[in-house]
Symmetry: C2
Subunit: 359 residues, 2 copies
């Protein structure tokens, strides 16, 4: 079967011929529908993140997949079920994090990530997966099921942030998403759907006209141009934020978030920037942190519970938002376009087979 992979030492994805996998006991064989592309894929392709399974000369890409069960084997699934796979897999047999269903909390070395590090991904005509790493989604969202994985990452971050405020009465009204990439926009739509927040903001650095600004405003949120209003000035220029969701990977934002927060607010950090030294007023930030009971939570990956919540959320997001968000779905023939990354691209996917609802 055909797969999209990056070969060792290469810095672009290519189509490779690989063997179609056989499901082991406890596994289902899944026919791939679509697989999304995100920033992590670009990092993997560039060689700055992750790597292939030990001994392999290539890594099959893709961690945002949706497919249809082709052969359920002895799993709980039925042929034709629409499923989304989670990303992390135990590297050397199950460890405590996987046993309790929390692989997202496993430290480095205690997991592989399909399509990212140590294990081939889902950008292939078929994949297999143990049933515990597959989540059912409604056929109505089959074609957009590749958005479940990124949404699940936002669900987990919101869950961690909310938990951090659970020992007192927290009634958030304002939230800002830092970053107008696909994760930022999905998160903004999720927060709007939750309707816990009366006022939403989204920060980017784009000139109008711009499709992401249109999406932000169509969601009823306020666009904040970081070139005019840095994160450190958001509280003064707009309002102090009860919740900040950082999805820029710009390290200064992690610390400026403390200034953007309202008293008793929480910032969820999701970016992975790498080393960068700079000066901060650490004393003022420390004091502000303490005197106003602020919190920062780092969040990475997600588990089955978050995937299930994300599948629910996806079904409730407005159609026009989803239409505007997904700027391209490409067949294997023209798959390269899915990896383009310019200002007109928001979210893309590669389609391996079309979804046909069973009657």
């Amino acid at each position: 079967m055909q797969a999209i992979a990056v070969e060792n030492g290469d810095d672009r994805p290519v189509v490779v011929e690989v063997e179609r996998p056989d499901p082991a006991p406890g596994e289902a064989l899944v026919r791939t529908l679509r697989v999304g592309v995100d920033g992590t894929d670009h990092e993997v392709i560039a060689g700055s993140h992750g790597g292939p399974p030990a001994g392999d000369d290539h890594l099959v890409l893709g961690h945002e997949a949706v497919g249809v069960v082709e052969d359920p084997g002895d799993t709980r699934f039925a042929e034709g079920d629409v499923v989304v796979p989670t990303v992390r897999r135990p590297p050397n047999g199950p460890n405590e994090y996987f046993v309790r269903g929390e692989p997202d909390m496993a430290p480095e070395g205690e997991y592989h990530e399909r399509g990212i590090v140590g294990k081939h991904g889902f950008m292939a005509e078929y994949f297999t997966s143990p049933e515990e790493h597959l989540v059912s989604v409604s056929p109505s969202v089959a074609e957009r099921g590749f958005l479940v994985e990124p949404l699940s990452v936002a669900e987990k971050a919101l869950e961690l942030a909310t938990a951090s405020r659970s020992s007192f009465t927290w009634e958030p009204e304002s939230a800002i998403v830092l970053g107008n990439g696909s994760l930022g926009l999905l998160t903004l739509a999720m927060l709007r759907e939750r309707s816990d927040f009366d006022r939403l903001y989204c920060l980017g650095r784009r000139d109008r006209p711009d499709p992401t600004i249109d999406i932000i405003e169509d969601l009823g949120a306020t666009y904040v141009d970081s070139r005019e209003t840095p994160v450190s000035e958001v509280a003064d220029e707009h309002e102090p934020m009860d919740f900040v969701f950082e999805a820029t990977g710009y390290a200064k934002h992690a610390f400026e978030t403390i200034e953007a927060l309202a008293p008793n607010g929480v910032g969820a950090l999701l970016g992975v920037p790498g080393p960068w030294e700079f000066e901060i007023d650490g004393g003022a930030l420390h004091e502000e942190f303490v005197l106003h009971n602020k919190a920062l939570v780092g969040s990475v990956n997600s588990n089955v519970r978050h995937f299930e919540a994300a599948a629910e959320t996806l079904g409730s997001l407005p159609e026009p938002f989803l239409d505007a968000l997904v700027t391209g779905v490409y067949d294997l023939d023209g798959f390269e376009a899915a990896f383009d990354d310019d200002d007109t691209t928001i979210k893309t996917a590669v389609q391996f087979s079309a979804y046909e609802e069973r009657r």
Copy 2:
């Protein structure tokens, strides 16, 4: 009656004569037993924090008090009850934070703090308080009841930190307290009492022989000398910490805490350092925060629930620890000694009247 106050423009506490307060409806009159001294008092005396009630030329000091109900008025208390007052009071009639019993979450401007800012403290022969701001404590801890307030601050910080880890399975084993002042040592004893932690550490910068190092080791904890092992190297030199409790007010510690934490760990910040610019590797810290699901929570003050938990905890702390911690209790005659602050002083209090258990 006599009280200990700092007069405007002065930088040392003096005995002043003030009127004995009359309890209003809903208030009790309390005969003061003892009032503790802490770093905040020193800041208030130096003029770097807080200030007197509007229009007053002095501030009666003291926010760590214990007393005996002299006149219960129409409150739920009985004459002779041992009580500890909380610190925050509504500045202009009740606001939402006080109404729901969470004045510790009120932002600046929404509270006064007795003995610190806007309202006279408890260093007087008598004080009055609305009953909702008084907590009963066991007569068995009456003489050490001035430790309930600082312990309540630690209780709140631990509660916030634990809440932040409540959305997943968190089984902490290691904890380090940054700071060997009285709050740090009380927290260390509290953590030992909780017995959730198998291994405890406490960081200071003192040479042996030193009474705080003796206390740390008598509690079964490991002393970490920050001059030999900076916070950023604690994980490598000892072990990554599931919980970090920062009680130094040294701003670099707030950020080095991220490095000291184990995956999925949480740091509680309590220091209030004021402006100080320095360089950090913000990119590496941001990345570490995210990839290992770490959290930082700022925590200030405490509410009735935390005072009640602290009163319980106080009753369970080992006698030899408490004896070593309280290095001096001084009568009004020699009260100045309670404000000495050298390496042999750990925790001091001023005694206004002796406790005599009723028969």
